[in-house]
Assembly symmetry: C2
Homo-oligomer: 265 residues x 2
DNA sequence: TATTATTGTATTAAATCGACACAATGATAG
DNA sequence: CTATCATTGTGTCGATTTAATACAATAATA
């Protein structure tokens, strides 16, 4: 996939069609190497990372806008997205302090925009941001940065650097909501590959909940829910017994998530 | 408490100071006669009910705005308020269809505004609404309608009439979030009077969860959490054994809610 | 004093829990 | 080929919890 080019009159288009004062930021979560990871974008020309975000058109629902923004900025489509919180604090605009504005100007000046100039003032107005989180299978997705970004990177949520503006707070709120609503979210089926081991599933729950769980008891409880299908063994090449692979019975899983999975680890 | 009067230049003040396109709606929940109730406002001159709502000033945090709006429109202050969802759908503006606009005009024309005229256009722009829910002790509060409203009423959530715009959807989403996040919310201490019976508490949980629970088991589980203090018996005047009164140990309750009360009814 | 409805607590079998044990396995090293 | 090793699947077992029910203890009324 090619990196996306800015359309002509991008800035004008934004000024004319975006709902003022409102924005969307996305916390894209994936799971890899027993770690919960978040997709970050790096601005061009500066060591500045942020969550993928964007603006809402006046003729667009928020949910649609979230999907479009995600597709435009990272190339990801058809993924599970859910709104989790709206950040309406004044302080969140404080990153537009003089030096921050200068930095923004400096970066934007280096990024060519077809047919017009950047309107820095437009970006430095007060914006209320609605947060969406997404759950994706990292192996099945390839994120591509847009013309504002140098690259995308999956970053362990334990090792996230200092991000633009209040994006660290947004991430933390997303993780909190993920924990609280865990039993009502399709985390397993969304974050894991189609086939996975019991250990994968356990480590996933452990990273989300931030606790360690008893192996044999976890297996007993999970299997009792009757939402897993057992497949062939996975020969890993490691010097020990090979684990079985499992997949989700989609209908049973969906029914459980709908009612809230009755875990009590 | 007197019904509040509109300040001079109310409309101008709004036009000049409100963040455009953004609004807040509040779902105020209380508990009375074994029923979960919501506080509704009735517009003057028409049989039109709605949730208390309002606009956010450009210099104001969303949380502050929610408290102010609630105080202005119902007189309620110092209550537990929590954001639960932002409604950004285009369809929510569909209630500004021609006949709805006419109705709005008709109502507003009958409500005197000091020093200026109503700007109906201002109200019919696209608005994104952020929902807050509140949990209050009905007995300890007296809601007073503002100058736009004829009266406030506590209405059982089972018997809510058709409300303005998408307010029924907002209410339903609030109730859903209340259920999902139940273990992380101070529902007991916020909705019940200081002293209450075990039956009160059980019926409260039953109305929120929409299920009926086993009496003796409920009592056992709740007491085991160690967050209740037992007081004297309550002589109700009824022809049967009098129940004990209980209150919450605030600190233990807060600690449990913080971590998520481990119920599994 | 008997009746009545509700409440506090006990009982009991079944289910579940946490913690641990242990054999089975798949590679590797000797 | 055998020993070793780390990990996995499953079993065990006492303690705890659960659901369902039973029943005595009220507080008013008849």
């Amino acid at each position: 996939m090619e990196q996306q080019e800015p359309q002509r009159n991008w800035m004008e288009h934004l000024q004319a069609n975006a709902l003022p004062h409102n924005a969307i930021d996305c916390v894209i979560l994936g799971y890899q190497n027993e770690q919960l990871k978040v997709l970050l974008l790096k601005w061009k020309f500066e060591d500045l990372w942020c969550l993928p975000g964007g603006y809402i058109y006046q003729t667009e629902n928020f949910d649609e806008a979230a999907h479009r923004i995600l597709a435009e900025r990272t190339g990801l489509t058809s993924i599970y997205l859910k709104q989790f919180y709206t950040f309406g604090q004044l302080e969140r605009s404080q990153y537009y302090r003089p030096e921050q504005v200068a930095l923004l100007k400096k970066i934007l000046a280096q990024i060519p925009l077809e047919g017009q100039d950047w309107d820095v003032d437009w970006f430095t107005k007060r914006f209320v941001s609605t947060g969406y989180f997404a759950l994706v299978d990292i192996e099945q997705t390839t994120a591509q940065p847009d013309f504002l970004s140098e690259r995308c990177a999956w970053c362990s949520v334990e090792e996230v650097p200092s991000l633009l503006a209040d994006h660290n707070k947004i991430l933390q709120k997303a993780l909190e909501q993920l924990r609280i609503q865990l039993n009502y979210l399709p985390v397993g089926i969304s974050l894991l590959p189609t086939k996975f081991t019991m250990k994968d599933l356990q480590k996933l729950y452990e990273s989300i909940l931030g606790v360690s769980l008893q192996r044999s008891n976890f297996q007993r409880k999970i299997l009792k829910l009757g939402m897993l299908v057992r497949h062939e063994k996975q020969m890993t090449g490691a010097a020990h017994k090979a684990p079985y692979l499992y997949s989700f019975d989609k209908e049973k899983y969906a029914a459980l998530v709908e009612r809230g999975i009755g875990f009590s680890f």
